[in-house]
Structures are given as C-alpha cells and as structure tokens.
C-alpha cells in the first residue's frame, strides 16, 4: 500500500509521531567544551548513555538501548578498523557520522515496512587544538548537525532550543571543569523541565482546548530552582559524566568521572544524591 506516493508521505509522518512519542521518557544529554576539553553529561536510569568510541571520540545517546548499542558497535568497528589501517588521526567524528551511521539511520527511517532506529545521537570530538573541537548530533531520521562550543539532545526540538539558548546566554569565554559541570547540569534541568511542561501542556490541551496561552510565557527558572530539580530527579538515577581531556596521558583521552571526581567537582547541594 506504500507504493502510492501519498501513502508513503503519510507513513513517514506517522513514523515521526511514533518516534517523537518514544523519547518522552528520555533524559536529555548535554555536551559542552571547557578549558581542558569536552564534558558530556546526562542523568541516566539503568543503562549508561555515555560511551567511549575512539581515542578522541565520545558518544552520548537517547532512545532505545538496543538500537543505541547497535549503532555504537558500528561506530566502534568503523573507527578501529580505520585507525588501524590508516592512522588514529584519520578517524574523525564527522566522517564516521556523515558517511557511516547517518545514512544507515536515514535508510532505516524511510523503509516504512521495517523498524526505525529509536535514537538520537551525539558524537563529541576532541580536536588537536581547542578550535578544532566539534560536536555532531544526529536525529532519528538521519539529519545531522555539526556544532562548536555546545550541543544537546532532548525529547523535542522545542526543549532542545530552550537548552541551547540557556547554554548560549550563560557561557562565559572559558569554563573550568567545575563551572562546566554546574552549567551542564542546569541546562539538563532546563531540558528535563521542558519535557515535564510539554507533558502537562498536552494533558491540559486535551482537557480544555481553549486555554492554551499561559504555558509558553514561563520565564527561565533560577539556578537554585534548576539544581533543586536535578536533586529531585537524580535520587533514583545516576548522574553520568564523561570528559575528553586534552592533557590526559597516553592516546585515549576519554574518561568517565567517578565518585572521587564528583565529590571534588559537584555543587554541595548535589553531593548527597551522588553518595547514595
């Protein structure tokens, strides 16, 4: 039945709706450059969402764990085979994304009689120089964007936009790791609050379709309120952080932060949550 063009467009539209629905429970991911490299942050439940891909590449994801695993493995395979056959400096995030997984994701999305990948992916790449740091994001339909400075993943484009504008207006010239972690968690809270807001808006819409005005004019919460939100949610979950450190010894620059790092870096209000 998909042979007719109209049907196909309709099917792809349905698919978007279905996929958007899948990310609602997801946790946003924030990537941010700081004076010593790149920081990735999320709050995960059960399965980890941040991974090492290659010497200077890290992955963050949202969506179905099995789909994320599949794509993570193909990234790992491509990166290591290329790094071995050519050289580690030829393994770049943009090539892995643009010619590697983005086409695969797009194809799976458009083959409407097969299952799509339920993922949004972020690939952070530590350049040889700070100016060369790059962060790529890929959506479930295969569209990718290359960014510098900061990038986020969230359940909806609106939430993503809110997080980005929050990051953009707060970013001083260079952040220390501690400042970056603080900012990243606040941006995460912006995204998480936006998810909640959208949920309640939707419910309100179905109950009283007429009164819709109030929701969009909410002002940006204070830093304390954002941290309180993180504290509230992080209780039953794990704050997950990873860094690509330019000064790290050896070739592998990826390191996931451990509780010892957290007790040094996290704002006091959050330390009790991590200790549990």
């Amino acid at each position: 039945m998909y042979e007719e063009p109209y049907r196909w467009v309709e099917a792809v539209g349905n698919r978007r709706q279905y996929l958007d629905e899948q990310f609602k429970q997801g946790s946003p991911v924030v990537a941010l450059t700081y004076d010593g490299g790149i920081l990735l942050t999320t709050v995960s439940k059960g399965t980890p969402k941040l991974y090492e891909i290659y010497d200077r590449l890290a992955l963050g994801g949202m969506g179905h764990p099995t789909d994320l695993e599949k794509l993570r493995f193909s990234l790992l395979e491509m990166a290591h085979v290329e790094g071995f056959n050519r050289s580690p400096s030829d393994v770049t995030g943009s090539r892995l994304v643009k010619y590697g997984i983005a086409p695969v994701i797009k194809q799976a999305f458009e083959e409407v009689y097969k299952a799509p990948f339920i993922v949004r992916i972020l690939v952070a790449e530590l350049g040889q120089k700070p100016e060369k740091d790059a962060i790529l994001t890929i959506n479930y339909d295969g569209t990718f964007e290359e960014m510098t400075g900061c990038a986020v993943l969230a359940a909806t484009l609106a939430a993503q936009a809110k997080m980005m504008s929050y990051l953009k207006e707060q970013t001083p010239v260079t952040l220390s790791l501690e400042q970056a972690l603080d900012l990243a968690l606040r941006a995460w809270a912006i995204g998480s609050l936006a998810h909640q807001q959208e949920e309640t808006d939707q419910q309100a819409e179905t109950e009283t379709p007429a009164s819709k005005a109030g929701a969009s004019t909410v002002s940006v919460p204070t830093a304390d309120a954002l941290m309180a939100h993180v504290r509230g949610i992080a209780g039953g979950r794990t704050i997950e952080c990873a860094v690509l450190e330019r000064q790290a010894p050896g070739t592998s620059k990826y390191r996931s932060l451990k509780s010892a790092d957290f007790s040094r870096l996290l704002p006091k209000a959050l330390q009790s949550v991590v200790a549990n």
Partner: protein, 255 residues
Amino acid sequence: MQGDFLQLLKEQGYMLGTPTAVGTGHALTNATTILAFKYRDGVLVAGDRRATAGNMVMYDRTDKVLEIDRHSVMAIAGVPATAYEMVRVLEHSFKYYRRTQLQELSFDGKLRAVSKLLKDNVPAALAGTGAVVPVFAGYDLEQGSAKIYFYDILGAEFEGVEYAVSGSGSPTIRGILHYLNTWGDQPLNRLPEEQAMVQALRLLTSAAEFDSATGGVNREASLYPVIKLITGAGVQTVPDATLKPLYESQVVRYV
C-alpha cells in the same frame, strides 16, 4: 568471540605476516638486547636502540620498548617490521575490547592475545622473514603486582619470575642478572627506582661490550637506551635528562 579486533580484521581480509622465501642476498634487520626485571615499585623494561641488518647499522635510535596501553609494554627482539605490526594489532585489540565490552581485558587475556599473534606468525617466522621474540611486561591491577613474560617464536609463553631477557646480546646479561639477583647486595625486586635504572644502564652497556649488534650509550650524540618503568600508576618513560647524570656518575669507569 565478543570484542575480538583481530577477528574483525581477518573478516576484512587482513593477514599477519605472509611466509616468503628469503633471498640469499638479503640481510634482515634484527639483533638487539632487551631486558625486564622487577624492582621495588613495579617492573623496569629496557632496550638498546640499535637496528642492524647483517653487519650494517640501519638505525641508531630505534625504540624497542613499546607501550601497548597504560599498564603494559612489549619489548621486541627480532624482525622489527613484524614486531611493530604486532604491537599495532595488540594496541588496537586491547582498546577495542575495552570500548566494546566496557571493561579492561584481563592480564591473562592480554598474554593470550600475544601468544595468538605469535602462533599466526609461525609460517613467516620459520621462513626467516618474520621471527619475533618479545618480552611482555605489565602491571596486573587486579592482583596489584608486576608481571614479566617471555615467548619463543612459536608463541609459547613463559613467566619470567624475576627477570627476562631477549635478543642477540641477552646471553651476556642473563648470567649477570642471575648473579646479581642471587648474590648481589639485595635481590632485584628490592632495588629502589634509581638503583634499578643504574643496573639497567650497566647491563645494557655490558651487552654492547660483547655484542656488536647491540648499541651502547653514545654520550657525544646524547644517545641513551630506552628505559620504561611500569607501576600501579601506569607506564612512565625515563627521560634522557635523568639517565645522563646516572650514567656519568655510576656507570662510567675511568681506568
């Protein structure tokens, strides 16, 4: 097998060391002296820097003590082309395993990986184009102890309890190591870091004295051996600036 990088390479048509008959006119680069022994804080691995082909010196600044990951090194004696290739395969294999399986490959797993590569390389080794006799040393974080292993060209693995040597200059210093460890002032594994480095310099200087294929220290060219220390904190390469005063004060004898 999960997380097996070599398998992945083979699926793509990769083959380590193809056996070819060696022409009579060709002298292959080989011959060397490498040594490893346990000292107080971990394990010291050292190697001279000369690469020879027959009676010709090919290169005087070879690094034969190669870091595979943060806690293991492979010192190589034999055909460098094959040895470097093996090190590259191992390096990527351990990284690939860690990143796919989200845990470090065990020390025993790493030893097996070296054996397997040597076994794959047997045809080339017997043909004379690719014999490699490595010493593998590292710090086993799980057990909190330093370990040394040496291999034959067929891939058999032997644990060198206190020390291991390989290469054309090794017969000379094997005896010295045995003597030092048994009747020296203190056993090797109690030597502090600086004393361990001095012994390594003396041993390599002795090897160079009796083996033309082992390069000694050349102070005019500020050429010193490669010495690496592996402790719980990772692999550390000793800079020439540290070796120079030690060599001048405790190795040189003016007679």
